[in-house]
Amino acid sequence: MSILINKHTRLMVHGITGREGMFHASQMMEYGTQIVAGVRPGKGGEWVLSGKVPVFDTAKLAAEATGANCDVIFVPANAAADAMLEAADAGIPLVVCITEGVPVQDMMQVRCYLDQKGTRLVGPNCPGLLTPGECKVGIIPGRIALPGNVGVVSRSGTLTYEVLYALQKQGIGVSTCIGIGGDPINGTSFVDALEMFEDDPHTEHVVLIGEIGGTDEERAAEYIADHMTKPVAAFIAGRTAPPGKRMGHAGAIVEGGSGLAADKIRALESVGVRVAEVPEAIPDLVR
């Protein structure tokens, strides 16, 4: 019923003793996610979340002791690159980085290293993943999505919640929602997510939520044309965004005539993707 995470996911939380890390770890646990370990250098040996989760000094120790197979990162931006590399070196196959504001040159190095290791990264600057009814890794509010067969992939946070909520109100369920993040250089692209949804037998429709900046949506359109058998609906944010200005997300900028919403919409529509004018219209396109 899902991609990347499910009820068997054994989660490690990097930065579990911080304010954000602790709050979201408790939310994830409440949702039913199996949190098997926390990582915080200097606090190894402690137990958190009502004594249910052991804390380790390093990701390597945590992975060895608990068999964690996914790491979610809540550390500050200046330590995020280190945490991602540490998780990869500890042999964790799936790393999800929630942290916003990671320097882009750090991300180029991290991505390069993780690719060599074969580690899948989601994010940074992302809300994480949600497989409704099974597992939540990150900060997506669990109660706004029902289990179902629509795969959702998005570069945004609250805009994704808006779409999930609209789907839920129409009784439409979601297989997995994956937030790939708003940074110019990230781990998982639209194409990667589409490929996984295409291969997932339980996903029947895909919703893609893009925005201005870069050419990831255009490449998604090429992939859809060549490989996708499942219908895709989309919303692209930023039709009204002026060129040369960064719209909040580090990656949301129209530069040198590239990254325009209109081009992305045209590219997607030309390969049969139905593009909604407003996010609330998405449910009508996946029925």
Partner: protein
Amino acid sequence: MKLHEYQSKLLFSQYGIPIPRGRVASTAAEAKSIASELGGRVVVKAQVLVGGRGKAGGIRLAATPEEAQEVATQVLAMQIKGLPVRKILVDEAADIQAEIYLGVTNDRAARRPVMIASAEGGVEIEEVARTDPSKIARIHVDPLLGLREYQARDLAASIDLPRELWRGFTEIAQGLYQTYRECDATLAEVNPLVITKARTLLALDGKMVIDDNALFRRPKLAEMRDIDEEAPAESEARKYGLSYVKLDGNIGCMVNGAGLAMATMDVIQHAGGAPANFLDIGGGAGADKVAAAFRMILSDPNVKAVLLNVFGGITRCDEVARGILMAIEESKPRVPIVSRLVGTHEEEGRAMLAQARMEVASTLTEAAAKAVALAGKGQPA
């Protein structure tokens, strides 16, 4: 964050890239004294953070210190694309034989740095890319290895640079890559890199853009920010950790989350209106943040209505509503406000706002339609 030419060139020189002798000035008298120090012909260059300075008359030659003072007076009185010229760079004039281009930037799609060289310098590289792409040579750099010497030589060969200049070119390319790395730049560009009549290379003009996300570890660069060059509301927003971009419409927007903020602007336009700004207030819409956001939006005299769109994922909407009411109490907005709150306890939140006689809406489309109607009426609150 963009750096001025004089700032960029100063950084380049610290990494061994040859630049013309010269200094920055903010008065014509200073320009004169710099010119007499340098002796001979000088170039007076407006320091503004936009392209096209030359075409606008912001780059002028002067043969004597007196003439330098005269042109400096003129340039300092100019506005280039709406930006007043507050500083000028006075550089020794170079004897130019040829102009080439050298730059390094992030290739988003390839997820690695790319170094670009072209035999066509002194014009915008985007222009060359459009008109004569064969004139451009590119080399991707492994971010874990850095720019290797052979790669710089490859570039020199690809643009048919005379062999005698390869050594100098390689050093400049490696210096530029090092500048880019150690300053956390997203762009470091020498344009033009000139071949002088004495057959040496000289970085005549420079441009750098620094990754805002890396400024925390580059405090010296962070101090170089020229706040005169941005809209006052944008500087103010940064202080509060908000993200604000001024636009031309009349409906102020306040939204949590960048993607949703953009989508809100789009829905306003779809409803026949025009957004006055982009504003992301981020997570946890506390009263102080919301109040600061109101001040920013209302500092724009065009604003006739405000649309507040908060998707309270985990934050409770009644708490957000309380924050909004406190902020309104504090900033007393002069225009009508339409609020849309979604999430936990949304009914309570909405009721609290309605009780305070605020316009409320349950969907984004409805909120946008209401804001457009209210802005059209232009009625005071």
